[in-house]
Symmetry: C3
Amino acid sequence: MPSDSRVVTLITDFGANESYVAAIKGVILSINPKVQIIDISHSVSSYDIKEGAFILSCVYKYFPAETIHIAIVDPGVGGYRRALAVKTRNFYFLGPDNGILSYAIKKEKVQKIIALANNKYFMKEISSTFHGRDIFAPVAAHISNGMDIKKMGKEINKINEIAFPEINIKKSGKVTLIQGKIIYKDSFGNLVSNISKEELLKITKNKTVQVFIGKHLIGNIKRSYYEAEKGEALAVWGSYNYLEISVREGSAFKRFGKPNILVKTN
Amino acid sequence: MPSDSRVVTLITDFGANESYVAAIKGVILSINPKVQIIDISHSVSSYDIKEGAFILSCVYKYFPAETIHIAIVDPGVGGYRRALAVKTRNFYFLGPDNGILSYAIKKEKVQKIIALANNKYFMKEISSTFHGRDIFAPVAAHISNGMDIKKMGKEINKINEIAFPEINIKKSGKVTLIQGKIIYKDSFGNLVSNISKEELLKITKNKTVQVFIGKHLIGNIKRSYYEAEKGEALAVWGSYNYLEISVREGSAFKRFGKPNILVKTN
Amino acid sequence: MPSDSRVVTLITDFGANESYVAAIKGVILSINPKVQIIDISHSVSSYDIKEGAFILSCVYKYFPAETIHIAIVDPGVGGYRRALAVKTRNFYFLGPDNGILSYAIKKEKVQKIIALANNKYFMKEISSTFHGRDIFAPVAAHISNGMDIKKMGKEINKINEIAFPEINIKKSGKVTLIQGKIIYKDSFGNLVSNISKEELLKITKNKTVQVFIGKHLIGNIKRSYYEAEKGEALAVWGSYNYLEISVREGSAFKRFGKPNILVKTN
């Protein structure tokens, strides 16, 4: 792929519009001025590796083949954690080895994992507080120029993983209870749970269910916000195919907070 | 125009930096990796179609010819509202048929309106909650690649409109009273009204006037912020040629809230 | 350099995602649709010229040679302040002549300063409130197309400067006291001071010191966040080589506010 069609994405906890993000972009463009840099999010909650890992795992696949995804939520920067470059069949992933890449990589065919070590591909001066600018940015730019990641460090076999919050399944007679958690709240106040469509349909076989948020009965899963009245709460498959509690043209978070979610088969 | 010079803009109520915006960009770049994607705003108040329509109508014309503007404030997503692609003499506009495009389109020469229906130009799986990613993003990318919108659906004659808040004109002897509303507050706290320069000058013929915000007399319309003292309130033609109440190096919103605005001729 | 490899950056106090920023981008792309536009920050505190100047001075150098940096914090817009285009050995800088460019330009070799005056390179209609869109945007785009700034106005010798807050040095026996100020707070709550690494090392010769924030003793300067425990406060060289007070995985601003900082040699 010609180097002027390459895309680099960024997901960090740096805060919207912080100049730190700009420094990363400047470094990348200094090495490859034709790359496209797209912000996925810089409003990951400070130091929240799981939230960053979740957002990355939802969004990465919508990008063109060979996109280079950089994910930096990195409380251990300057310590002993490794810096990774992972090549999968379709993408590259760069980030600290603290689990932030692990949800996404689990869904991909991994081809090569490199612990970055060759400072020929880093900035000349490496700070101990900002590897996004000094290591990940130049590495991404060199990859976008066609450089093989094998030259950039030592090949390793596996990365550190963080557990995806699991759902809890109980049987009680003919009824099955599926208990999950709210793992993300978007800016509309929609409550996104860890119950994926794929997993739930295996259990319920698409039969009607009853969804509860905390102690509130919400009802069966609707097909769209449109099936609820204005101000009515509903359960719906969200944009990334996780079960979501919403309030039509309102905020589910304001109404319910973030209690557990429960799905009950009939 | 070569496809690598095309611009796509986005205006949504998704919240700054939400990953939803990134998914839209990823889909567009997967189809045309050379397009430039520019965020107009993602901080439109949730579900506020009028605010989105107003911002779009102020900004769209500053972009290059053939720019593709996507506007998504879409509480009816998944329901029966149509999805539109509108070609005007200078631009393309994509969005739900709920009025969000109507202020801008009123100012343009419309050449063709298509109700999008041909799923060959959509994502393979279409969610019922996120047509920005599944319909408008791929359609925009195909247009940027030179595809004719005629192939993408059914031609229709008109779109749904929402009324632009009208100003109120009263005569009382030789005095004319023009009453308007604050329709937008920017991040400086400037209060932007619905009284356009064009319309007011027709009435006042550029004579001095008295501007009131709520019960506060502000005075005549100044030529720039610079003509007021620091901390002084003033009336001025804002950046999009609507009458605006400002406080020099301060916030008019904090001082006055958002009451009605009144212009009185002498 | 071919015009499709040129980068334009933006730093303003317009607020994240405001449509004003989009209007600037639209104007630039209308003149040069191939330029890359990168946001450095739009969340400079309203009217705070010093904060804008500081951020620009920290970040500009990470961008490719010939990048065009636009900096707009411009309370005097529409008044008598000049509009500048400055060419240094490596970059272009555009902004009002109110000091916002001065910290960055002090670090660069200045080659030419132009007071912009030739309206052939401006928008046809120039508002008195929005020179970002009407003057700086088209000028940046014409520069990116290779136009010589000499044609754009009158050459002048010097720009207006604002003083960088100076540190205060006192001797008391063998002990040296270096007093500084917190001049920036990032979104993690890190407190960035005006004490630069270069300046402090000249005084301390890299010996251990004691750093105080307000009356709180923090200790010697650590090499990275990682050397502190979770929740512990530390002094560290920040990402732009200014002395910084941080709390590991926490917010120093929440704990200490923004009092003065003091470094004491042993």
